[in-house]
């Protein structure tokens, strides 16, 4: 009797499972990219190298995150900017300037402005939208596709304040790790390209540890973000993500 039931279930469900493989690969990749650097909480140090045609500088910073909602960034180097911090709670964001002991709230109009002169915007730090939940995905048609890569197009849900028209993610077929993310504006123009590289073991996962953001409208600019070390799912003190803590440095 039990065998009959199992056979029955197999017969009924098998075709559906087969049909879903392509789609499930798609969502698996999105899920993988989405959760790559994400965890309940994290604590790491990063180096950000910012190159423009006029200047170039390298920041060393410590980053704490809690879920999707809370981020704290503290710059340690260069000396001139030591102690400068950014706190993000939900969709609000503040910069702290220790030299003048000032906390500046970033107004909504400044969200697309550069963070600390880099090619990452304030918005990149704040609206960490979930690729999985906030975008609809489909396989992308690209010219000259590589045999070892997947190409996925993400379109933001129309009800969300996302500035991009679409994002095209390229991921490796072997382990679903992302290779590039291309950001297009609403008119379909390529605005910036982020490239992932230097895949390494960090804590419990293999991740690309270097991200290079190249804006397409400013020649000679790029920002390279390198993870030096990161721990996932760590215990963080409860008042870490507070304005009071943002202000208290060292």
């Amino acid at each position: 009797m039990r065998a009959i039931v199992i056979i029955f279930i197999c017969l009924v469900l098998a075709p559906t499972v087969g049909a879903q493989t392509a789609d499930s690969t798609l969502s698996d990749i999105i899920d993988k990219v989405d959760k790559l650097y994400r965890s309940e909480s994290s604590h790491g140090t990063m180096e950000m190298e910012i190159v423009t045609q006029h200047w170039q500088r390298t920041l060393t910073m410590e980053v704490w995150t809690s879920g999707l909602e809370k981020t704290l960034v503290r710059i340690h180097e260069p000396k001139k900017e030591e102690g400068v911090g950014t706190l993000r709670l939900e969709d609000q964001m503040w910069n702290y300037l220790p030299k003048t002991n000032k906390v500046i709230k970033i107004p909504p109009s400044m969200m697309m402005s550069s963070w600390m002169g880099s090619d990452f915007t304030n918005d990149d730090l704040v609206k960490e939208f979930s690729l999985f939940e906030d975008y609809t995905s489909s396989w992308a048609d690209v010219k000259d596709p590589s045999d070892t890569l997947y190409y996925i197009q993400l379109t933001p849900r129309p009800d969300l304040p996302i500035v991009w028209g679409k994002i095209i993610i390229t991921a490796r077929q072997s382990d679903y790790l992302p290779v590039t993310q291309e950001y297009y504006d609403e008119k379909g123009r390529l605005m910036r390209v982020m490239t992932y590289s230097d895949i390494q073991m960090m804590d419990d996962r293999r991740i690309p540890t270097t991200m290079t953001m190249v804006p397409q409208d400013e020649e000679g600019n790029k920002t390279i973000l390198r993870y030096e070390q990161i721990e996932f799912n760590v215990d963080l003190p409860g008042d870490l993500f507070s304005l009071r803590n943002l202000r208290s440095y060292p």
């Binding site: 006029h54 200047w55 500088r57 900017e81 030299k99 550069s114 600390m116 002169g117």
Partner: protein
Amino acid sequence: MIIKVALRNVFRQKRRSLLTILTMLGGFALAAVSISWGDGTYAHVIRMFTRNQLGHIQVHEEGYLDQRSLYKTIEDYQQIGDRIAAIDGVIAWAPRLFAAGLASVDEKASAVQVTGVDPQLENAATRFDQKVSQGRTLPQNPEHTVLLGQGLARRLEASIGDSLVIVSNAADGSIANDIYLISGIVESGNSMSDQLTLYMHLADAQELFWLQARVHELAVIVNHLDDVDPLTAQIQQQLPDDLVAASWKEFARSFYVAMQADKRGSYIALGVVLLVVAVGVLNTVLMTVLERRREYGMLRAIGTTPLQIVRMVIWEVLCMAVIGIAGGIVVAYAVAYYLLVEGIPMPQPFTWGGVEFTHMYAQLSPHVFWVPALAVVLTALVVSLFPAMRAANVAPAKVMRLH
């Protein structure tokens, strides 16, 4: 011979000649004073504009005037400045750094234009210290003090001794931010720029905006306004390829165009004055000629040629013109000199481009005299030609029967 006769004729009819001479004298003096006055106000306005803030010649990186950017800077400005200062005719030069920022005093905040100046050089170039209406000027060495334009201080509700925070973007992409002590208030004479401008020591500004040893502008002051164009070319030769020298006519183009239009307007007024003189001269000469028709008839009868009569009449007019101009120079010089020294206070101070003017002064230069002199002589000549021909063409027999 004819000149002698002409002179004798002039003095023979003293009252009539005096009338003509006075017309010419009055016209000349009026024209001379108005030119002198026009020049004076013109030069004064330009001086206020250039010496006060802009300078006569400015040096920037190419394209800075079209699109001001933090990154369009002048490197090795000290060296370039020294080379400019060595040029004959240059009095002073001053380096400046400009950047926008957000300034706040307690809860009040305002957008500001930060201007970094070298106190010593700026003082030599634009008498910076005189514009500090309250408090202390910037010290020789940077002490993290700032001066606020009067309008800006009012908007920020700031007073001397308050501390002020500036936040902006530095040239290396970092957030420029620092605290300064407000040490004084500036009244530059340009109320528009005083609404926005904040002055600090050049070295402080270079540190804040991370522009070490760089500036955006060199302002150059020259000895004579008329030398600006050749000196601009000379300075350009001293500059590296990426830098451009521009005269005030270029960097304050709208101001220059307005001044030119104004100058043209004053020449039209001058033309009207000269027309009045011309009509006056024509009137008296014509009168003289008509009254003396019998005399001319007599001269013709004793064998004087028409040409000689024409020359005689013209010489008479010229003699009167010379006397009139000589007298006019004395009168015009006296009046213009008074206006040069004392000036005329404006009943209501007027502002132009934000610069306030309370007094207007005349200016004396050679063309104040030779332009109207030439004009008077020429008009006298032209208008006397017609009566002179009338005089030469009289029919002796007819006119001698007049009495």
